[in-house]
Symmetry: C2
Subunit: 191 residues, 2 copies
Amino acid sequence: MSVGREQILTAAIRHLNEDPTASMAELAEAVGISRATLHRHFSSRDELMVALGHRALAEWEQAQEAAGVAEGAASTDPEEIRRVLDALLERLIEVADAYGFGLTDHAMAVHPDLLRRSDELEEREVALFAAAQRAGLLRADLPPRWISNAVFGLLVAVRESLRRGEVARRDVHHLLTTTFFQGAAGDGGRA
Amino acid sequence: MSVGREQILTAAIRHLNEDPTASMAELAEAVGISRATLHRHFSSRDELMVALGHRALAEWEQAQEAAGVAEGAASTDPEEIRRVLDALLERLIEVADAYGFGLTDHAMAVHPDLLRRSDELEEREVALFAAAQRAGLLRADLPPRWISNAVFGLLVAVRESLRRGEVARRDVHHLLTTTFFQGAAGDGGRA
DNA sequence: ATCGTCTGAGACATAATTGTCTCAGACGAT
DNA sequence: ATCGTCTGAGACAATTATGTCTCAGACGAT
């Protein structure tokens, strides 16, 4: 049965999540095809990495669109923005878990195309956070870019927690949102 | 002038922070010594990486000790625990910034020695968070290990923010602590 | 049955990295 | 001045990953 580009990317990213230094030979084996065939689809390792990056960015973008980030950024309705934020975090968890290795991989930070596209996506989220601040949903004293980075960092935490099996998948969304919105301080911290 | 192991490690980590894939030759050049001399100090790349890992862990450990993590974990006094938490975050910022590449490097996750030591350090922090929960300082409904991972993730955010120059260094501690303790929700989120 | 297409296996050259080794020179201590 | 130590430069073999290529066989369509 012939495997397409998409299946190769899926299997490759799954393997790279466990061993980020895997060679083309290892990747081919993980996909279940020969090294030659892998090279027929992606003429160089670099090309494969860029394709992987674009796929991860596509998932990210899709998560934004499904959550309605653009609409949320343009809205002034706290209810709607809150819904968008929740939906975005929910979907970003999936993306972080599936494409997590890309969170830290340097291929993403090296290719101008990927970098530019990733900056653009990040910009949309920053705009959403800024809108959330205007609506009183998020604290106005935090720089939107810091908020964006904090969300990113918490997603790293999510991924790590899942990888180690320290938290159940069904609890992750609640942990992420409650930590992000309310923080970790207890009653004693305010009393 | 002869350079010692410590100076080599310092220069190497600084360079690896910018290019995590640097070869031994590049590292030697960055340090300002010849490749031969580098190999005289660290017979293999692996040995260098392990030394780097131990150094990063030593800094981490020192941060814990300076903050009084052990005492804090054994204490029931909210005031003291709060001071320890603050001091710990303050010092972890420095460590994350200086040894940040180790935050994501897999050498750390590959060598049993490093892994074990890193687990041990993490365990101490988990104990501190648990103590903070008992003292009412941190929410009791969050798993201590999730809190630990969340702090780690927020440190990644700190490092990234500093690297991009998106926030000033003097603001970072406040951003980190306020985000961690209070979260990002604004007034509108509770009203 | 035959054609066209795709595949796996493997040979091959190339390049990059690594680790070892040698040798000559710099340098400080005595 | 001389010794011992350390260094840089560079040669060297070994390893590994990469990219290309060829060839034979599988497979489906006609």
